[in-house]
Amino acid sequence: MDTSLVLLRTALALYALGFVSAFLPLLTRLKTGRLTPFLALAGWIAHTAALWALGIGLQRCPLGTLPEILSALSWSAVLIYLVVFWRYRLEVLHVVILPLVLVVQVVSGLVPEELIPVAAPLRPSLLRFHLTVIIFAVAALFITFAASLAYVLLDRALKARRPVRLYPKLPSLERCDEVGRVSLLWAFPLLTLGILTGAVATASINHTFWTWQAKETLAVIAWAILAVVIVLRLGWGWRGRNPALLTIVAFCAVLLRMLGVY
């Protein structure tokens, strides 16, 4: 437990450093931006080790409590961010993803460490599957969110005919749209699977398939919005600002649900 905590703190410190290095160029002339992905990578490695050590210490999969789930969420978000960054060179990801990861990590330290109740003997594996899938879906949505946000900002600037001169330099509209589309295409099926397995798991505990709790409702609303976006994008070739805005709304709902704040 101790090792894992030290490792987790190290990871958090490295993420925080990455965050600072991404934001310093906004305020000063320092060019620390190129350090950010490496700091994030170092943080992620420490994070991986921390999760591993935690799993060994607890003698179970470290997805049993809400803090553990949130920690796993930020772990996978950083993983996907690093992959997407090295594939697309979107510097804007630094300033969106790292703050989100930090928020999730900090919240994970604040929420109570209650074990999630597990009823039937067969269920833990289903619950774990549900959580893993959901975590990766949300992590992919982080990227969708970042790309959509960049799209909306750039579109506004172009429509206002006031060129944005931000650091990091925003990617082109086309690039934002593409990253938003591709990451959503990954996130959406995972999210669907996650919600379905979640419903089944809930049913096995509460013996009702659906409880009208705010958190389920939020998740389903987000899912419905994303479904509309996907259908319109694929079917009608809908693109641009409006899908980006809708995606941002859906992401906020998902994030609220994940952080357990309703």
Binding site: R29, R161, R162, P163, V164, R165, L170, L173, E174
Partner: protein, 456 residues
């Protein structure tokens, strides 16, 4: 110290500047002739369309007059005109001027990149012509590094400040690197050609030209390596084009809101960028309100350019601060050279005294073995060196000080040297001068603090 004599776009109109300008291939030879004048020690000649500047170091008191007469002889211009349009900077002012101009703070378009290359060429030409000396060499080297600092540490050269570049930069904001995008040029005028060429050089994939006169369209298309399309197929073509440059001479709108909406729908929302550089305008301004359609007309592009310009001017302040630091560093270095003659003289004087005293006491010491004689000489020399140490350090420190001259005067007086402080302009840097003084202690182990290392 350096002297700058010349004119630029602010001090002289083009009609005057063009008469004073030197053609590129003559610059080296002219610099050599300038260097050949009596009183001129080093010379660099910089001549661009916006400025002609003579940058020299000179021992002559009337350097301004010499330089003006040089220009009068070399170029078809009268002395009184030169007097009206030229400026003369000396010493720190001249250093600052060279630093600012190399960093493009003195340019018509602040932050433009050309001037640095032009100054480098002038410097290289002077080097080849042999008119460069230690002072100007150091001045220009430092000016280049200052210019580099200004470019990298401030945003002075960051954003485009021409209409064409602004349009390209907007296209990049929308489409990215453009090599997958195509351009449709509507109209075959000069402006359309220029804009299309700019985009072509930025790597757009395909160019199509539509014009009322198919023949003109064909000519332009051939020139741009694209294809001509009939004017009545304009909107079909637009469905495939990502960037539309509208530049017809038509007195009415050519592309209306409905047309653009139809095109955008047919493109399934892929963004389209209209650049309307026609006057009167070709594209209905309402087109800009459609999602995924962006329209910039001449005024809008002008606005972008102006915003970028303002951004640059904002950066000028931090650039000036860098320049001030660099100027101060250069002047401090120059000043440190100025105390060298005093240090040299001081050493020479004290060693002379020591040797004279040795000579005087020679008889009193009686018969000495060669070893003993050498020991006595060593004693005297090492005593002098020890005594010299502190004043030397104080002099070097005075060099870097503002008003250090007073301290130098004081030391000269204390050691009974004539109190006329050798002025920096009288070429104090000559290496051969301190060679003579090094002699008394040459090869001696107790040789006092370094004399020469600090000079460069």
């Amino acid at each position: 110290m350096p002297i700058v004599f010349g004119m630029n776009h602010r001090s002289a109109p083009l009609a005057v500047r063009e008469r004073v300008a030197f053609p590129g291939e003559e610059v080296g030879a002219a610099a050599a002739r300038l260097r050949g004048l009596t009183g001129v020690e080093e010379a660099v000649l910089l001549s661009t369309c916006n400025r002609t500047e003579l940058i020299v170091t000179a021992s002559a008191a009337d350097a301004g007059g010499i330089l003006a007469r040089f220009l009068e002889r070399e170029r078809p211009i009268a002395l009184d005109e030169l007097e009206r349009h030229c400026y003369l900077h000396r010493g720190p002012e001249a250093v600052r001027h060279v630093f600012r101009l190399t960093s493009s703070l003195d340019s018509m378009v602040v932050g433009e990149a050309q001037i640095l290359g032009q100054v480098k060429e002038a410097y290289a030409a002077a080097g080849r012509a042999g008119s460069l000396g230690p002072v100007l060499d150091a001045l220009f080297r430092r000016a280049f590094s200052a210019a580099k600092k200004v470019r990298t540490e401030t945003g002075i050269a960051r954003n485009p400040v021409s209409i064409a570049c602004a349009a390209v930069s907007l296209a990049r904001d929308i489409f990215g690197d453009l090599d997958d995008n195509s351009v449709l040029v509507v109209g075959a005028g000069k402006m359309a050609r220029l804009a299309a060429q700019q985009l072509k050089s930025e790597g757009v994939r395909a160019v199509a030209v539509a014009n009322r006169s198919f023949q003109h369209a064909d000519e332009l298309a051939r020139e741009l390596g694209g294809r001509a399309v009939p004017f009545d197929r304009l909107f079909e073509e637009m469905e495939r084009a990502d960037i539309v440059i509208a530049s017809t001479a038509a007195p009415h709108r050519v592309i209306g809101r409905e047309d653009a909406l139809r095109v955008s729908r047919a493109r399934r929302g892929r963004p389209i960028f209209f650049i309307d550089i026609a006057v009167p305008r070709d594209v209905d301004p309402a087109v800009h309100e459609i999602d995924n359609v962006y329209l910039y007309d001449l005024d809008d592009l002008q606005g972008v350019v102006k915003a970028n310009m303002d951004g640059r001017l904002h950066e000028v302040q931090s650039a000036e601060a860098i320049i001030e630091r660099e100027v101060a560093a250069f002047l401090a270095w120059r000043k440190s050279l100025e105390v060298t003659p005093t240090i040299v003289e001081l050493r020479q004087r004290l060693h002379e005294i020591a040797l004279a005293e040795l000579e005087r006491f020679h008889s009193r010491l009686g018969e000495l073995t060669p070893d003993q004689a050498e020991a006595v000489r060593l004693l005297a020399v090492s005593l002098v060196n020890k005594l010299l140490h502190q004043p030397t350090v104080a002099l070097k420190r005075a060099a870097a000080l503002n008003g250090g001259g007073l301290r130098v005067e004081l030391i000269r007086e204390i050691f009974g040297m004539d109190t006329r402080h050798p002025e920096g302009d009288a070429a104090p840097v000559q290496g051969d001068r301190d060679e003579t003084v090094a002699a008394p202690v040459a090869g001696h182990a107790e040789s006092a603090p370094s004399r020469r290392q600090d000079e460069r």
